[in-house]
Symmetry: C2
Subunit: 197 residues, 2 copies
DNA sequence: GCTTTAAACTAGGGGCATTAGGTTGTCAAT
DNA sequence: ATTGACAACCTAATGCCCCTAGTTTAAAGC
């Protein structure tokens, strides 16, 4: 019996790979164990159960995605930063569909795990940073952040689900959508401007 | 043995209810059978397998959602139509989270099923109809449709996943997001207007 | 009533999640 | 080098779930 030298981290890493290959909801303890050359039951020494493993994948993905966005937006501002932010987001979703899906499913994550996960907190700051150049004040700032996140997530989710017909490539729409969002942020309707058409 | 009088439609309806209660990915053949007072194996006379059942839920949901949107937007135009469309979308997602999730998972749907499902096709027409008042021409029209769908879906998905902190209610952000989208559609950056900040 | 059809059943194989309890590497201290 | 202790890993077993094959039986048409 050659020890495999497992840790929670290695189990999570293999599970994340598996998620990207077969889909997040198809990640099973059995498959992960098989990949590690180990029996199912052995995993329970490192991970509480399947739900716990899913939560770990989600946290890993959140961290990775945040880092990618941080690297992409570093030193940029204005539309440059917005585009870099958005492209990094979408690229991560494309490259790691399973991990990305993990960030989206509402899982109860063990508090002690979430504690030392810098991802989520840092992500908020990054988004606010991108919007700094547009001169928005609260509560518009929060609304704008949420709108951006909604749009980015919605776009990649619809893209992944095959929601866009083939007539026009998603890439073309993506470019124009970023133009539109930039324009929107520059002319944010702060107070009562929404005159009914 | 009292015949239960099952049909594919009744099975699907019960499965859809179950999805709303426990989540789309927790719908199982066993649970559905139990609700119908029938053995698991009996379902296979009406539904090919679990995947087929999932596809049926997805088509049912797409139809229902489309109908709701059609009713909500009938006779409206401009911002009125936009808001009605968006609210109907979000309301459906709130009232039927399981069904809504079904519309989002990429399932291979049997072609013969998709054939007589008016939902998807009609939905496209509805969205274009809402945008009629904004005077957009292709390809901007397609891009705008995709942006709206992305934003609506992204918003309700993040909302469902608990993506919005409690500081500001999602409802407030939603109102402002619709204002913003309306303003964006009225001032759509048609050609080269995106001067880098 | 009798036939036909299909609705529902029983039986069983195989996969997965999880728990309990047993072995056996490995590392530190003697 | 030997000994313990601690994990790491295993075997065994339970229960739920998906799905297939073959069988019984209610209901509809003659």
């Amino acid at each position: 019996m050659v020890r495999a030298g497992l840790t929670a981290e290695r189990v999570t890493a293999v599970a994340a790979e598996l998620a990207d290959e077969v889909g997040f909801d198809r990640v099973t303890m059995s498959q992960v164990a098989r990949r590690l050359g180990v029996k199912d039951a052995s995993l329970y020494a490192h991970v509480r159960n399947l739900n716990d493993l899913r939560g770990r994948i989600a946290l890993l993905a959140a961290d990775e995605k945040t880092i990618r966005i941080a690297e992409a937006t570093a030193g940029r501002s204005g539309k440059d930063a917005l585009v870099a932010y958005a492209n990094a987001w979408r690229a991560y979703a494309h490259e790691h569909p399973g991990r990305y899906a993990a960030t989206q499913t509402p899982i109860e994550i063990a508090p002690e795990l979430a504690a030392d996960a810098p991802g989520p907190r840092r992500a908020v700051g990054l988004t606010y940073g991108v919007l700094r150049g547009y001169g928005l004040a609260e509560p518009d700032l929060t609304d704008a952040v949420r709108l951006l996140r909604s749009t980015f997530h919605g776009f990649v989710a619809l893209e992944a689900a095959g929601g866009f017909a083939h007539a026009r490539t998603p890439q073309e729409t993506w470019i124009r959508a970023l133009d539109a969002l930039h324009s929107l942020l520059e002319n944010w309707p702060s107070a009562r401007e929404g005159a009914p058409s």
